[in-house]
Structure formats: C-alpha cells, structure tokens
Amino acid sequence: MADSTVVLRPPLIDGNKTFAQVTDDVCRGMEGKPTPLWWASFLTAFAVLLLGAAAVAYLVTTGIGTWGANRTVGWAFDITNFVFWIGIGHAGTLISAVLFLLRQRWRTSVNRAAEAMTLFAVMCAGLFPVIHLGRPWMAYWIFPYPNTRGPLWVNYRSPLVWDAFAISTYFTISLVFWYVGLIPDLATVRDRATEGLKKKLSGIFSLGWNGSTRTWSRYEVVYLLLAGLATPLVLSVHTIVSWDFATSVIPGWHTTIFPPYFVAGAIFSGLAMVLTLMLVARKTMRLEEYITIRHVEVMCKLIIATSGMVGLAYATEFVTALYSGNPYEQFAFLNRAFGPWGWAYGIMVSCNVIIPQLLWSKRIRTNIAIVFIISIFVNIGMWFERFVIIVTSLHRDYLPSSWADYRPTPIEIAILAGTFGLFFSCFLLFCRFLPVIAMAEVKGVLNEGREPAHGHGHAEAAGKRAGLPAPTGALEGARG
C-alpha cells in the first residue's frame, strides 16, 4: 500500500482514543457520586463565598466608609479587583475565539473550561462597580430607559457608561458563545442519561439536537461568526476599561499606551489563571490525556509572549514619563517605583516580567509543579499591577498637603476573598454538572477515522510519545 500515504497531524489527544472513549472519559466526571475532594473544595469555596456575602451585606447596610479609600485615594481596592477579574475573564474568549480564527486546534481541549472561567470571572468583576455605587439597587440607572425623571438619559460621553455597555455585552456574548458550544455536548449527555432530572434538564437545554449535517453546517458558520464578533469585542472591553483611567487627567493614568497595555495584561493574567485551573483539573479529573504536556507548553509560550508585551509596556510608560518634560508625570512614575509603594512595584515587575522568563527553558515548561507555581506568581503579579496603577497614581497628587496613604480594611479583603469563593464555587459546580471538555470538538481533532484502513499500528506508536509533536505525519506504519 505504498500509494496510500496520507500526512496525518501529530495527535493532539494522547491514548489513541476512540469516539466512544472520549464520551466516556468526559462524562465520567459528571456521573456517579462526587468525590470527597470535590466536596471538600466546594464547601471551602462556598464558605469563603458566604464570608464575602456577609462583608457585602455589612458594606451595603453601613456604607462605603467601611473601606480604606479616602478623599485622595478615591479608587483603590474595589477598582483594582474589578480590573483584575475582568482581565482574567479575557483568556476564555481569547482561547475560544482568537485561537479558533487562527486555526489552533489544540484549543479544543481547554476552550470549554476557559470560557466557563471567563463567565465566572466577569460575574466577579461586575460585582465591584455595583457595590461601589453605595446604593447597588440603583445600578440599572446606568442603562438608558424611559424613566420618570425627565426622561433623563445617560451621558454617552462618559467612559463609565461605555464600561457598563462593554461588560454587559461581553458577558452576554460570552454566555451565548459558551452555550452554543455546549448544545451538541448536552445532546450527548441527554442520550447517555438514564435518571430523571438530568435527562430532563439536558433534554430541555440541548434543544432537540440530533446531529443533522444540515444543522452542523449552519452551526459551524454561526460559531465562526461568533468568534469573529468576539475577537474585536475582547479587545474593546479591556480598551474601554483602560479608558476609565486614560480619559482622566491624572499623571500615571493619562497615557495613550493604556489600551494595548491593558489588553496585553488582561490576556496575560487570564492565561495564567487558565493554566492554574487546567493543571488542577487535569490532575483531579484524570484528564491528562486530553490536556497534555503539549497543551501546557503551548500555554507557557503564550505566557512568555504576553509577559514580554507587558514588560515592554512597563518600560515604555516609564521612559515616556521621564522623557515627557512634565514634572508631575515624572514624579508619578518615580514615586511609583521608588516611593512608599515601591515594594508593590517590585512585586509587579518580578512576578510579571522576570519570573515568567524561566519558561523559556523546555525543562521548566514540562515540569507541571514549577509551571503551576509560576502561574500563581503571575496571578499575584497581575493583581499588584492594577493596584500599583490605581493607588500609586492617586496617593500623592498635585498638592502635597492632600497626600494620603491607603490601607485596605478587613471588609475590603473579605470582599476580595468572597469573589474568589464565588469564582471557585461556580467553577466546581461547572466541573461537576457540565462536560468540561468540548467532546464534539475533541472528536473532530482525533485521528480516528482519518487513517488508511490498513494502518492501525501507527497511531498507537504516535500516542506513546506522550504528546510530543511527531515530526511528520505519523504514518510510517501505514506504508507496509
């Protein structure tokens, strides 16, 4: 059969899986009783969520005075957390939309969980501007609707209005994108389910999906269109978040570098969070054959790239400030790096620019434990980046008599912790009740069914290479 040489891609999924095995492996986590580990994690996360809820209740009933923010540092912890979470929420759409448009087929193993993570992170982010209002029950005033006050409309020249539109659009489109991706998998769950409630719910939400190619064909077009819409959307959202700062006249905020700087930082932090969660999920849910070492490596390379962009932005804004000839601008940056919050600046630079450079080494990239630790460092560093940008630009303003310090109160810390509780509670529920890996997409990247009928030996051989890219199509076995 010398003429039957076909070039196959190196396998993206290890273990030479069949279609039915993929279904079994992914659905296994949703069937049977949850493990004690799941219960322990969920109850911990939920307890932290309740702590945060109590702190928010105290905040709302008592007032914004329970925060450490003051007249000089008017924005601090709350907005830091908002930008932090919204940044984390960017990687999901990057992976599902941008990598889809770039034909990066490895994304199929991680896109579902990354999109879910996006939704939960945006939920956490949305909480902060709302509680910052002081009277959160009036949050809907940000949207223009016919009201009895005139009607008085919103000010479309305000970046805060842009922000509300951007984030609610982002959440809605991400949710739709995620759900559309889920429909075929929900049908698989429906057809496997035997018990009542699961069968019923998956039956309702799978919309009568029957695998028809007429539907699949349109579905692919819809998916492509949504990816095309979500890609500029993801760039616009963090651009608009950065405009919250850049359109002000505060030294340290009023710069044109902010939109690309914020977008790069958002993708960087989001990838780190995806990596953190993926490493935990592959271990605890036994998905090592789906989220292979090759996936981890690719994510690490993306982290190096975005870390470089973020580092370039740090250097650029510093040089621009020093070169500006504007003493206030120069002071803002010197104060940022060497003032009382210099240690926070140091954490930011070392976690975001220096530590990720370790990932250039293949030995480190393939060492799961070290990659996990680095991803945690990046998460910490990116939180500090937002803190540094917000607090150090404000705490020493034009008038030395109004300089002030800032300390977060326990209430603020409890609210931050509570959002982590919310995030992990949602993520654990997702892992338990929905397919964490997009089965219908993973089946599309398997080599099964694409091999010549006579060459059954080769795929096993390629699969045993532990996911390292086989140099050319692993087809030698078929030539015999």
Partner: protein
C-alpha cells in the same frame, strides 16, 4: 409527510464522507447525514450550499449600530441635551464605543436566534434520532427511496463498499 427511507450507519469519518459523496454523485436523494461532530466537507459532499447566515449577522449588526447611534444623538442632543464640560452636543467620537458594543450584541444575538429558528431547535423539543449513538460515535446516512428509479440492490452495494455497519428501513418520519 410519508416517505420511505434507508438508514445506514457507519463507524468512521472516512466512510461517511465517501458514501455521502458516492450517493450524491449517484443521484440518490439524501435526506440528511448525521454525525457526532462537525465533519469537514460533509455538507458539500451532500450538496449543501453555503449558509447565508453571515448576511443575517451583517444586517443585524448594521441595523443595531445605526439605531444605537441615532438613539445616542437623539438622547444627548435632542431630547434632553446636557452640557458636559462644554462639549458639543454631537460628540460623535464619544459615541463610538457604545455603538460598537451594541453592534456586536445585536449581531451575535440575532445570528444565534435565526440559527435556532431555521434549524428548528427549541428548548424541550424531543429529538428525532435515526440511530443509537449519533451523539456518541455513529455516523448515519439517510436516503429517501424514490419510486421509479430506486434500485435497492444497487444502493445496498454502494453502502457496503464503505463498510456499512447496519442498514434499516424507516417509514413516514419527520426528520430534522
């Protein structure tokens, strides 16, 4: 709708692509092909034209953007103009971000809604599955038996050329 169908199931992507191409080339009337995932090229193999949903998306985005832009001008410049820092009533650049967001929102939501309507997908609809395991690992080709020209023996031979796993006949069912 009362029609007779031949329902044949296959195990691999290669077989279903091959049999669909062959059946289409043979002039058989393909009711539909069912697959557990989106098989590339299967839609063209069964003679489907490219979907026009992209135009729906484009139109919805344009309409949403134009309406929103008009609304911004109307609220900020006509219905209740508010002087914000002496800026002009018609601050077009400042209206761009919200217009863009609304464009994306309307394009995305309308596209998905239209997709669900034309594909006849709706919450709680009970699916018509022609074979077991379509959402797991089975590929199914459904061919309509037309009266005069249909030759069951020849069709069976064609199916067997592509490692058919099972063949059954169905009557008068509403599919897709």
């Amino acid at each position: 709708m009362n029609r007779r169908m031949i329902v044949a199931s296959f195990a691999t992507e290669e077989d279903i692509l091959g049999v669909t191409r062959a059946a289409h080339a043979d002039g058989l009337k393909i009711v539909d092909v069912y697959a557990p995932y989106a098989v590339h090229g299967l839609d063209t193999a069964m003679g489907m034209k490219r979907s026009r949903l992209a135009w729906v998306c484009f139109a919805a985005g344009m309409i949403g953007a134009i309406l929103k832009l008009w609304f911004e001008f109307w609220t900020a410049g006509v219905d209740w103009p508010v002087n914000v820092g002496g800026k002009p009533w018609n601050s077009l650049p400042a209206y761009v971000p919200v217009t863009f967001e609304v464009m994306v929102l309307s394009a995305g939501l309308v596209t998905v809604f239209v997709f669900l309507v034309i594909s006849k997908l709706k919450p709680g609809k009970s699916p018509v599955l022609l074979a077991e395991g379509i959402t797991n690992d089975t590929f199914v080709l459904a061919i309509e038996q037309e009266d005069a020209t249909f030759d069951p023996v020849r069709v069976r031979k064609l199916l067997e050329r592509f490692n058919v796993r099972s063949i059954s006949e169905r009557y008068g069912e509403e599919v897709s």
